[in-house]
Amino acid sequence: MGAESIAVIGAGMSGVAAALVLARRGRRVVLVEKKERIGATLRGFTRGGVYFDTGLHYVGGLHGEGPLTRYFRLLGLDRLPLEMFNEDCFDLLRFPGLGLEVPLPVGREATVRVLSSIFPGDAAFIRKYFTRISEIFNSSPLLSFRTDASELLTDMQNTVSLADYLAGGTADPVLRTVLSIHSLLYGVSPEETPLHQHARIAASYLEGVGSVRGGGRALVAELEKALSLSGVKILCGKAAEKLRVSPGRGINAVLLEDGTEIPVEGALFTGHPHLLPPLLPQGSVKPAFRKRLLSLEDTCSAYALFCKCAPTPSFLRGGNLFICPDADTASAFRPDCDPRRGPFYLSGGRDGQADLRGLVIVAPGSARECAPYGASAPGRRPAAYARLKEERLRDIRQKCLAHCPELSGMSVLDGATPLTFRDYLDAPGCGLYGTKHSLHQFNPLPLTGIANLWMAGQSVIAPGILGAIVSAIAACVFILGREAVQEELAACA
């Protein structure tokens, strides 16, 4: 018998990252993915010759010793071609009703300077806020490359919401919107997001902001190369249907939908937490654990327009645009949210040679609105759903054109609703970023009630590319031991 074998279930960013690290530490890894190819979300899609990103729009921490740079190095992606966003404005926030535009520059000092010039009465709080989120970010174990397992499991200090923290510091609702706009990047309302969780994501966008040249599909191509060198066995196109559990040994086999049985000595589940309990035999975990996973609420959902835009408006070259017709960001996350009220997130539209990338417009969307059509499958939706989709996408297009005349040359090639995201992302609650990291619910940890079953993915620790990788590394701390992961992290310093 060789080294211990582990099944990694789900070949998204988290599953691939974990598989690569486990294989490098000598584990025999089988990566099981129900979709036809790895990295389905990251891969994006093409319509009418135009490529659209779906999983990767932009990230932070890509500077020299930034956390994402180090993690990409850890995964063997040293040659990943990057494109850095504009230093002086990577995000432009447009408030049409106020005639106000707020640019967010790269760098904490530059950000404090720019925002203080726009909101001079709140300069002291602006500095305090960015200092605070940086402190939290820097003290977070896996963002500062520490692997103390006990630190990874303590989450009890998260008792102040982002909204309460901001309300305690400034009376200006526009500034509060500016400081919480990145809640759209993880899909949880500022009213529900612990300040600590917000800081771990928002502060990653203070340095090294950019993307991968060529988009998500270029990242997937590099991950595929890394996997092919790693010895990881990849099984795509077959869903895991059951995990076999024996009383003494825990997980001992993964059964696939086609009847294949893969004997293993452990499993790492990286899919949506709702999808784990159906894999587990009755009696293998306590009912409370099963119910908690099944009751976790998803992050926000969305409508999206995929557009061809020529010429690309200058503000979308090396940056994003947030249109905020309404200063109340929290409304976007409510179950009765109105997609026409925004905020609208516009990304992409780069039209460099050999890199014709489409413009993606994302507007808030509620799973509830699409729920009556939930039983239908893609391509076989009822006519009423088609009308709802058409109406929503038309309204969002009109609002964006009204607030952003620079887009007058755009044509819409495709669109998505919360149901599209449900099926495309394999997210039962239509959430864009897995389950909510909220003050009011307990997301899974890497450890489960079964000693050789672990969890990772956006719903564990944090969402996004960085969050997915961090959750994979956290799971590896428990699978491989702290020293092994510490060695790996030190090697990519």
């Binding site: 989450d155 009890m156 306590k286 119910k291 009751s295 307990f442």
Partner: protein
């Protein structure tokens, strides 16, 4: 929604019994071992991971919100838990 307990007017004993019943079912515990002095770790085989599930079970059983209350970390025995749940009841009455 926070008025749940007060409206039902449950006695302390009823609350304790309800908590015990929910825990017995959700954690497959032997009701005979569920004495107030029983320690979660040593006597009931529940660990820190189970603590999270316990919070969710109690929130659902009583229709209350506990969330990430640091006081949870200090709960060692079933009696501690009973006192905690009863303290939530008096807080709610105060608010209501």
């Amino acid at each position: 929604m926070f008025a749940g307990l007060a409206e039902r007017g449950m006695t302390d004993l009823e609350i304790i019994e309800k908590a015990n019943a929910a825990l017995a079912e959700e954690f497959e515990l032997d009701p005979g071992r569920m004495r107030p002095e029983a320690l979660f770790r040593e006597d009931l085989d529940l660990d820190s991971l189970d603590a999270v599930d316990m919070v969710v079970v109690l929130e659902k059983s009583f229709g209350i919100r506990i969330g990430k209350d640091p006081a949870i970390a200090a709960i060692r025995s079933l009696g501690d838990l009973h006192r905690y749940i009863l303290s939530k009841k008096s807080e709610m009455r105060h608010e209501g």
